[in-house]
């Protein structure tokens, strides 16, 4: 058996170097958008816990405020008896809790509020990074959806190699696979469904809107990848006119 120890050393050094050199803006963006999604998941779960817990004290508030962030703001305001008046609750079902009990609930609410702040910071970061790295895509899709498209493709380069019909379906891989495997209805959009222009379109028009958007994103991404001139606003207008 040959002695491979020097070959091993060489390979270890080279692999480490290549891993180091593989770090790039695509990975910053992908990590940021993954983190944003994870934060939302955790916020949601913890907000549900908070609602459960605070409802020992003030159950009526849960039904009155659907939005988690707003709910938290109210919890942190503290004084239930003011809130009872504000929300016109006569007969509160909640128990009185002493300071020690309320303290725990308050801490949880503060932590969740911190997570919302963290998410806002992260989205700001994404907006800055996307604007510098892929300005046309950023204008057309928005930073978060743009980042998700980039993640779905794997990188800006790979996204620039995709056809617009493929871009339209990034984020709908499961439905697409189901379509191929079982003949279920093919999906019309993936991440693009969340786009304001698609959201504002009438239900029947959403597929068409996603398609028009994907066509322009296709152009935008190529400009970004090949470092062409900025045309984002023009491209976006060309999609917006289709809304009517």
């Amino acid at each position: 058996m040959a002695d491979y120890s020097s070959l091993r050393k060489k390979n270890l050094l080279l692999a480490k170097r290549l891993v180091r050199e593989s770090v790039n803006p695509d990975l910053f963006i992908i990590n940021a958008v993954n983190n944003a999604e994870e934060l939302q998941r955790v916020q949601n779960n913890l907000a549900k816990r908070l609602r459960e817990w605070y409802s020992l004290y003030f159950p009526e508030l849960d039904k009155k405020i659907q939005d988690h962030e707003e709910y938290i703001t109210h919890v942190l305001k503290g004084d239930k008896h003011k809130l009872l008046k504000e929300w016109k609750v006569d007969e509160c079902m909640g128990s009185e809790l002493d300071k020690k009990e309320l303290e725990g609930i308050r801490h949880l609410a503060e932590s969740i509020r911190g997570l919302y702040e963290e998410e806002k910071r992260l989205v700001e970061y994404l907006e800055k990074t996307m604007k510098a790295y892929s300005p046309n895509l950023n204008t057309l899709a928005g930073a978060v959806i743009g980042a998700k498209l980039l993640r779905g493709a794997g990188s800006l380069r790979k996204l620039a190699m995709m056809r617009s019909s493929t871009i339209q379906l990034i984020g709908a891989e499961k439905a697409l696979f189901r379509h191929i495997k079982t003949g279920a209805k093919p999906p019309k959009y993936g991440h693009l469904l969340q786009h304001p222009l698609v959201q504002r379109a009438k239900k029947d028009d959403r597929g068409r809107m996603a398609r028009a958007l994907a066509d322009k994103i296709f152009v935008a991404v190529r400009i970004d990848y090949f470092k062409g001139e900025y045309k984002g606003d023009e491209l976006l207008k060309e999609v917006e006119v289709k809304l009517r």
Binding site: M1, A2, Y4, R8, L12, L14, A15, V19, S22
Partner: protein
């Protein structure tokens, strides 16, 4: 009690339906949260075969796997190094595993495993381009193992066997039917691949195992180079 599986450097116990074991080359160290256990003075690493196509092939009764003590193995699609670490146990101190993957993220994990195991080396390269790593692997190896789950995985496999597998050496191919063609029945794909392997000059298929129920729609082909 540990029992050797055929003549392979792999062990099993009657009561573990999803586990195999290898003798741990690095006693005391476990890499993937796998269980370590002692039996008559030797330390073994448990090997969850539902996470490993090679392990599943062995559990499904492969008559031959071609991996022996002292072998040099070229492992394509090494990922985090899970299966490669067991191959490293199987070939032992005198053998060697060249672990190749093209995804930097998994090679980052792989490097940590290779640093702990003196008979493993990481290679960040594309298996589709065998000439690109000719300075990084020996001219001839005893075994080529491939698990890349790619559309042209058969082509990649044959290219590498042509370039690096010695005459009389074994080529192992873990095939994922879905990556080849999502619309066709797995069985059809396995049959087609088997024919194409047989047709390739110098290759014979020694054995072939459907990996169900450990892996759905996967097969392990064991080939020999004449």
């Amino acid at each position: 009690m540990m029992q050797q599986v055929k003549k392979f450097n792999v062990y099993e116990r009657e009561r573990d339906r999803r586990l195999l074991f290898t003798k741990n080359l690095t006693p005391g160290k476990s890499f993937f949260a796998e269980m370590l256990l002692k039996d008559r003075g030797a330390e073994y690493r448990a090997w969850d075969v539902s996470r490993s196509k090679l392990g599943a092939g062995i559990k499904k009764g492969a008559s031959q796997i071609g991996i022996k003590e002292g072998d040099a193995v070229l492992y394509l699609g090494a990922s985090h190094g899970f299966t490669p670490s067991y191959v490293s146990d199987m070939v032992g101190r005198d053998g060697f595993v060249f672990c190749l993957d093209f995804a930097p993220r998994v090679v980052r994990d792989l490097v940590f495993v290779c640093e702990e195991r003196e008979n493993m080396a990481p290679i960040l390269a594309d298996a589709n381009q065998p000439e690109s790593y000719k300075e990084l692997v020996p001219a001839e190896v005893d075994v080529v193992f491939q698990d890349v789950a790619q559309k042209n995985q058969l082509g990649i496999f044959l290219k590498n066997c042509d370039s690096y597998l010695k005459t009389g050496g074994f080529g192992l191919l873990a095939l994922k039917a879905r990556s080849v063609d999502v619309t066709k029945k797995p069985r059809e794909i396995f049959e087609r691949v088997r024919k194409e392997l047989e047709k390739h000059p110098g290759m014979t298929v020694v054995d072939y195992r459907d990996l169900y129920p450990f892996e759905k729609d996967h097969a392990l082909f064991i080939c020999k180079k004449k």
